[in-house]
């Protein structure tokens, strides 16, 4: 058990390290942020002065050593654009992203599990088809387009909800719905097939033969055993939402989360900030993955005994 946890933990650390090195290399490979920081009419002396004060005139490996030494202590340098510690800027945006992803994830789970379970009870039923359509839609329709259409309908035409930005609960509705659709469809489909697998097992037949009520068979026996697959897919989807989908949705709804910050950092050529944001997302995703891995042992005693 301990070995398992330590193994997963080490893996998470390797992933975060890989992400850091990759992003650092990419951002230092090309480009020059200096000119962005100066007024349009800045003189060439000013440019050179700032460049050397930021250490950008050093060879690449020297810069990397300096970066690594600081990064270990949690110092990722100052954001070139906001002139504050980059990690602070990134951390400030994390709550907004967690709020959005959390809401979307809740919507997805709350809808996907009943939908998948119900679909599995009667394969081929109307409900089953709805699940399939949702799943397909999640894959086929670009979420940002759906978001745009909802924006036109609910905000511009009907005026019920704000078009974008952050504020009270009503600001959360459209982005969370948009973000939830794709994972919801896929999760419903996965829940369905996991349930179908379980319902075909021997123990279900036995339970039914023993006269256990159908409701109990489905909800207690089958669902419990399907839980491990469901947790896996839910964790996977949560990770993907954090690591990518949220960027487009945040950008579309100008939700000031970390996904939008990444795009702003790229636009502003603010590479300390870009690094800090990507690393922070990497850490968050790794933590989600770690949590999913650990929850296996909860749902599946066989892993617990592996030690």
């Amino acid at each position: 058990m301990h070995r398992y946890i330590i193994g997963r933990l080490l893996f998470a650390i390797v992933v975060v390290l890989a992400a850091s090195v990759l992003v650092w290399l990419l951002t230092h490979w090309v480009g020059d942020p200096v000119k962005l920081l100066l007024p349009l009419d800045a003189s060439r002396d000013q440019v050179e002065q700032l460049r050397s004060s930021l250490g950008l005139d050093q060879p690449l490996w020297v810069q990397f050593k300096a970066f690594a030494a600081k990064a270990v202590r949690g110092d990722f340098g100052d954001s070139l654009w906001q002139r504050r510690p980059a990690m602070t800027v990134a951390m400030e945006r994390l709550p907004a992203t967690i709020k959005l992803v959390g809401a979307a994830f809740l919507v997805a789970v709350i809808l996907a599990i009943p939908l998948g379970v119900l679909a599995s009870i009667k394969p081929g039923s109307a409900l089953d088809r709805v699940t399939s359509i949702l799943a397909l839609q999640g894959v086929c329709i670009p979420d940002f387009w759906l978001g745009l259409l909802m924006m036109m309908l609910f905000s511009v035409k009907l005026g019920w909800l704000p078009t974008s930005g952050i504020g009270g609960f009503n600001y959360l509705i459209l982005p969370a719905l948009t973000l939830s659709l794709r994972p919801m469809g896929r999760m419903a489909q996965m829940v369905r097939s996991a349930m179908l697998d379980q319902l075909g097992e021997q123990y279900v037949t036995t339970a039914r033969a023993k006269g256990v009520s159908e409701l109990k068979v489905v909800l207690v026996h089958a669902l419990k055993n399907a839980a491990i697959s469901i947790v896996t897919i839910a964790g996977w989807e949560l990770g993907r939402m954090l690591a990518g989908y949220t960027v487009v949705v945040e950008w579309l709804f100008t939700w000031p989360g970390i996904g939008m910050l990444v795009i702003q950092a790229i636009d502003n050529w603010d590479f300390p900030l870009l690094q800090a944001s990507v690393i922070l997302i990497g850490v968050t995703v790794s933590m989600v993955n770690l949590f999913v891995d650990l929850s296996y042992s909860f749902f599946d005693p066989r892993i617990r005994g592996e030690d």
Partner: protein, 300 residues
């Protein structure tokens, strides 16, 4: 994780019968017709566009589609803020989407397949190394890495394709490796080894063909995924740049005008959705025909 379950080992024979049944299915035929239309218009885009997709007249800007009150019959689906014909831009956009989709899948598929074949067949340390790289890369925030690459290299079609390829090879590697593992212990491989065929020859001549059916299904699904990724990145401004035409870019440009010009964001999104839907439907069918097990499991 999810991807591993998508494709199962298939039998070459059933694939053949599959192709025969294929055309019998009318719904599938519809999707094939749609895809063929998109393909042909992408190929012949330069000849069939009704207007100039890259240049418009400002005096024609933001015209609604032809059937609306203020519409102009010259512009079937209306015009964009530059006065360019939306339909023409959609057609040119198809070219971009398909180029990126197939280009990336070709590159990523090639790299991934070779990696998967090598890892699966030779096993040992090679396998270990490839699988570790794969695991780590799967765990990285892929979209962010792609965005960073495109942002750093500068947004254009070539760099977009590089960025997406870097993130696309792992799926192929993982699936192919799994298949090789199950194939390599079959008698015919052992026989080939016994006859003294070189190991490289066995990999590419004996094993590789058995992966083709699943590989092509996976490739179609991946094309769809990449087209969506291209649209997302162009939407974010890190893909195709104006005056180029890309569906994602058109959505991004139209967003500013959602209060005044609904047609700017409606049609490009529709084009993306239909293309991806058709590709996925095709993939589903391909899989169900090449794999009888899957076929039984399909319940729509």
């Amino acid at each position: 994780m999810a991807v591993g379950t998508l494709v199962r080992p298939s039998r070459a024979k059933s694939a053949l019968t599959g192709i025969r049944n294929f055309s019998a299915d009318r719904v599938t035929l519809i999707f094939i017709v749609i895809l063929a239309t998109i393909f042909l218009s992408a190929i012949f885009a330069t000849w069939i566009v009704p207007g100039d997709p890259f240049k418009g007249n400002l005096r024609d800007r933001l015209k609604p589609p032809a059937w609306s009150e203020k519409g102009d019959s010259k512009f079937m689906l209306g015009t964009d803020p530059q006065g360019r014909d939306i339909l023409s831009r959609l057609i040119m956009g198809a070219r971009v989407s398909l180029t990126v989709g197939f280009g990336v899948v070709a590159i990523a598929g090639l790299v991934g397949t070779i990696a998967g074949l090598v890892a699966g067949f030779f096993g040992g340390r090679v396998d270990q190394v490839i699988m570790r790289i794969l695991d780590v890369q799967f765990a990285l925030p892929g979209m962010l890495v792609a965005l960073t690459i495109a942002g750093v290299l500068g947004p254009n079609m070539k760099n977009l394709m590089i960025a997406l390829s870097v993130n696309g090879w792992m799926v192929f590697a993982r699936v192919i490796r799994g298949m090789v593992l199950s194939i390599k212990n079959r008698p015919f491989v052992e026989a080939a080894l016994a006859v003294g065929c070189s190991r490289w020859r066995i990999v590419f001549v004996h094993i590789f063909p058995h992966t083709l059916a699943s590989l092509s299904t996976l490739a179609v699904i991946e094309v769809a995924r990449i087209i969506l990724a291209e649209a997302s990145m162009s939407f974010l401004g890190l893909g195709i740049q104006p005056p180029g035409a890309s569906w994602g870019l058109m959505l991004g440009e139209g967003r500013m005008y959602i209060t005044t010009a609904w047609w700017l964001v409606t049609f490009p999104g529709l084009a993306i959705a239909i293309t991806i839907l058709s590709l996925n439907m095709l993939a589903l069918r391909m899989r169900s025909y090449s794999d009888p097990l899957q076929r039984r499991a399909m319940k729509f």
